[in-house]
Amino acid sequence: MRPDTHHTEPLNMTSLQETLRHHKKRMSLNLKACAGCSLCAESCFLFELNDHDPCYMPSYKVLNSLGRLYRKRGRVTQTQLHDMADLVWHNCVLCGRCYCPFGINIPAMISLARQILREQNIAGVYPHSLGAPVEKEPP
């Protein structure tokens, strides 16, 4: 799925933590509002398209990308960052239509995660842009 994105450059911890500090208030508020109710699931068409796989749930994607960065204050490994990149680029198209009963701006959280990852030189590589067509399994 993600052929050659595993660069082994070291993390730039200073800039990572700086960005996290800068967005701390916004992240804390949004993450704290998540009651873990999972009602956002159906609003994601990818969740529906992929046989209700929980890893397409909007809350899952936020909690396991930005949420993890926030909780661990940026102390994450390169591999973990790449997993997050998979979540926020491959499992999300940022269509902006997720529903949260508590008003969490999920797309904003995903795009913040993308921003942080880009700052670490980890950008989502879409499979097809490398010329390897990915045929989706029909649901």
Binding site: F45, E48, E135
Partner: protein
């Protein structure tokens, strides 16, 4: 991105009247963002078609939303499904509808939205046109305000004699693009870019556009024809 508007329900009903098994296909791209053709709209359309006096009481309506309809790899997700239906409604932009119809040439495809323009999100549910995709961008000369799109007469050497109170004579709610261009350039101290005459341009609308990215040319151009 591309902004679209859902077609009037009546029009959709008329189009699908002869068919009894209809699949509505949403698109997770641009039309999702502008609340016209995402999963919610696809599902909503089904609910509306089923609930309203459908042309045929035995009709079956289903929906599915895929990542984007303007790429064949995502359309592949539909391959095993489409056979079960005798008509498709695509909620994608005009480009997506055509690509879908191309992939499933034996099934009638109907558009569920009217593609409006390339535009911006001023706020949720409020979209504005910004680009006519004319293919030869002059925004650098016009202070980042498009004369082709934002001027009702698409003047390159505006403003015309019509603006009133800073607004376009055609519509009092639309600011005059050329006044805005003038004011912004004046503030930036580079009026010279519009005091010079902008010559007549070549409109790049002669054939349907095609782009071959340089790195990929050799991949698609047949042997011996590479330039």
């Amino acid at each position: 991105m591309i902004k679209a508007l859902t077609k009037p329900l009546e029009e959709i009903r008329e189009m699908i009247a002869p068919y009894s098994r209809v699949l509505t296909i949403g698109c997770g791209g641009c039309v999702s963002l502008c609340l016209a053709g995402g999963q919610k709209e696809a599902r909503g359309l089904n609910i509306k078609l089923s609930a309203s006096k459908a042309p045929r009481s035995d009709a079956i309506f289903d929906d599915i939303t895929i990542e984007r309809q303007c790429e064949q790899q995502f359309l592949a997700a539909l391959d095993t499904r489409v056979g079960n239906y005798d008509a498709l409604i695509s909620l994608a932009c005009g480009a997506g509808v055509q690509f879908l119809a191309e992939r499933f040439p034996n099934t009638p495809v109907f558009p569920g939205v009217n593609t409006q323009f390339v535009g911006v999100t001023r706020d949720i549910g409020w979209y504005e046109e910004r680009c006519k995709t004319c293919g030869d961008c002059v925004l650098g000369l016009t202070a980042g305000i498009c004369p082709v799109t934002m001027c009702s007469k698409s003047l390159f050497n505006g403003p015309c004699g019509g603006p009133q109170d800073g607004h376009c004579e055609v519509d009092p709610d639309t600011p005059c693009a050329w006044i805005a261009i003038f004011e912004r350039l004046q503030a930036q101290g580079r009026l010279e870019s519009i005091t010079a005459i902008h010559p007549a341009r070549d409109w790049q609308n002669q054939i349907p556009g095609r782009i071959l990215v340089e790195e990929y040319r050799t991949r698609y151009i047949e042997d011996g024809e590479t330039s």
